[in-house]
């Protein structure tokens, strides 16, 4: 019980004090769980983080669930995710309640105007940053395949109103077909 409470408060504190997205939470979790408390080793944490990043969903939430589960099974996972999510929930409920009142304030409008510009810039940078992971070096065919997928997805997302989830599923299907085709050592399938 005591450990559950500790898992909850650690995650709550991390959730409350990290601004700028969930990825910033991972180094903080390393400090709290591995360096300060020694509940898990750094190596094990990094393994968990790798899994957290390849699972669908919010990375920081995945990471806290995995660490919580590792420490105290399902109860630990629940305590961790509650702690990680609760600060966001409380803060954003407050923000949404006050939204109509502060949104016309000139200072807020100015700040939002600049931050929106910054967010768009960051989005461009993130997609640029992802190219190393998304377009693997390796064989030329693999690289060409992933660039073609990206081009097709960009065209679909930007020019049509198709639901983005279908595009993601299409990518998964294309990935399966491609590696199946490659394993047969033969033709490349053009479906996407």
């Amino acid at each position: 019980m005591k450990q559950l409470l500790q898992i909850f408060t650690v995650m709550f504190r991390i959730g409350l004090t990290t601004v700028g997205g969930g990825l910033v939470m991972l180094p903080q979790m390393t400090r709290e769980y591995a360096d300060r408390r020694g509940w898990v080793s750094r190596d094990e944490l990094f393994d968990l983080f790798a899994v957290a990043q390849s699972l669908p969903g919010v990375i920081a939430v995945n990471a806290s669930i995995l660490v919580g589960y590792r420490l105290a099974k399902i109860k630990g996972a629940a305590a961790a995710v509650l702690g990680a999510v609760l600060p966001s929930l409380l803060v954003l409920i407050a923000v949404a309640v006050w939204y109509d009142r502060f949104i016309d304030n000139p200072f807020v409008l100015g700040a939002l105007r600049a931050v929106r510009g910054c967010v768009v810039a960051l989005l461009f940078c993130v997609s640029l940053d992802m190219r190393k992971k998304a377009f693997p070096d390796g064989k030329a065919g693999d690289r060409l395949f992933s660039i073609a997928i990206a081009a097709a997805a960009l065209a679909l997302a930007f020019l049509t109103r198709v639901n983005l989830i279908w595009i993601i599923l299409g990518g998964a299907a294309a990935g399966l077909l491609y590696s199946a085709a490659r394993r047969k050592g033969g033709r490349r399938d053009g479906a996407s």
Binding site: G21, V58, A151
Partner: protein, 185 residues
């Protein structure tokens, strides 16, 4: 009640289909919110900006904000539970059965097709949001419709993010916010 069920379904989908973290959920959440008429484009854009300025994971912040705006506190709870639930199921399963989860060929080949898609979707969102962010909706000559100060902020942010290694995005966002509050009123 049906409103809440619709929110739950929307955010379950978002939680189950985002790979690659917070930024990847922005295009999805933006499309879902504006297509369903929950929000105007500007409101959705403000939601993303506010989610960046507040503590915690971006996607959770955005989900809470969207749920709150559509159906109050119950909506906020529903949306957040919706985003987290797929993670909870999948991550506990992975914690239990895994450990070589990401080494499975099946998962690997699916991810190899999904990663380029996620990159493209984020780029597409950036392009689409640019239109909203840097241009006024007014029937004046093109050069007067461009929001030059916002564009300049974006350019500085992009250069800073690309040149300074390990620069925390929060710092950039905070600096942009202060600059905007002081000079873009």
């Amino acid at each position: 009640m049906t409103e809440l069920l619709r929110l739950l379904w929307t955010f379950l989908k978002l939680g189950a289909f985002t790979v690659g973290g917070g930024y990847a959920i922005i295009p999805l959440i933006h499309q879902e919110m504006t297509a369903a008429g929950y929000m105007t484009q500007t409101e959705a854009l403000n939601m993303v900006a506010i989610s960046q300025m507040t503590p915690g994971p971006l996607a959770i912040n955005a989900a809470t904000f969207a749920g709150m705006r559509t159906a109050g506190v119950a909506g906020a709870l529903t949306a957040t539970v919706g985003v987290v639930l797929p993670s909870f199921v999948l991550a506990t399963l992975a914690g239990k059965y895994f450990f070589r989860f990401q080494e499975s060929t099946l998962i690997r080949s699916m991810l190899s097709g999904m990663r380029p898609v996620v990159l493209a979707l984020i780029a597409a969102a950036a392009l689409e949001l640019s239109r909203e962010t840097f241009f006024w909706e007014r029937a004046v000559p093109l050069w007067e419709r461009v929001d030059l100060p916002a564009l300049a902020v974006a350019a500085v942010c992009a250069v800073a993010a690309l040149t300074v290694r390990k620069l925390p995005p929060a710092l950039l966002i905070a600096a942009a916010g202060v600059f905007g509050a002081l000079f873009l009123r």
